[in-house]
Subunit: 116 residues, 2 copies
């Protein structure tokens, strides 16, 4: 089952890297914070919270959407974005498995030292 954890750590590295990368920007972190603690918002509304232009926010929302962290739907002339928790739950599981793997590694190295 050490192998099971190892598998969890190395599985789907491309999608995982993309999700991490999507969170690797302060503007996008702010968008996530806004969308996960409030109602869905249009591009103009979300751009209003920032000092950046609407077009810049559109690009950031595109990155988040490609990573699956937000979904968008059209409502009249507006495009509403809402949070989707699934990808972040995946990252959380990944980080938990990394911690577990590290604990096992520490224990193994320690017993190795004690033996000789």
């Amino acid at each position: 089952m050490s192998r099971k954890i190892r598998k969890r750590i190395t599985a789907k590295p491309k999608a995982r890297a993309r999700t991490f990368a999507a969170l690797g920007d302060k503007t996008r972190l702010a968008l996530v914070a806004r969308l996960c603690s409030g109602e869905p918002g249009s591009i103009s509304q979300l751009a209003g919270d920032s000092k950046l232009t609407r077009q810049a926010i559109t690009k950031h929302l595109g990155v988040l959407e490609r990573a699956g962290i937000v979904r968008s739907s059209h409502a009249g002339r507006e495009r509403l974005f809402e949070f989707d928790p699934a990808p972040l739950e995946g990252l959380q599981e990944y980080l938990v498995s990394v911690s577990r793997q590290w604990d096992q590694t520490l224990a193994r190295l320690k017993s190795h030292v004690e033996k000789g």
Copy 2:
């Protein structure tokens, strides 16, 4: 206490973004997987697992080190890198607080709908 969570979500966004960004690359994810489940390794050893050049791996290790995810120490002519779990634990806490915030938001929106 909703405010406490909100604070946790918006605190230190710069450092957090840098840590997320450091994990936003498949090569670096592989390095993390290697270092968290094995002994410390030198640059040449770590480069041996990859198809990239030693210099490319050096750059990736620099990104991980600037994010605090790995530490390095000199041993003779070698430079040994080892895993540091602290930053990833911070990300894990962050993701947990985002999930909690999202659950509260869902509950609030739901009751809002029920009321009217």
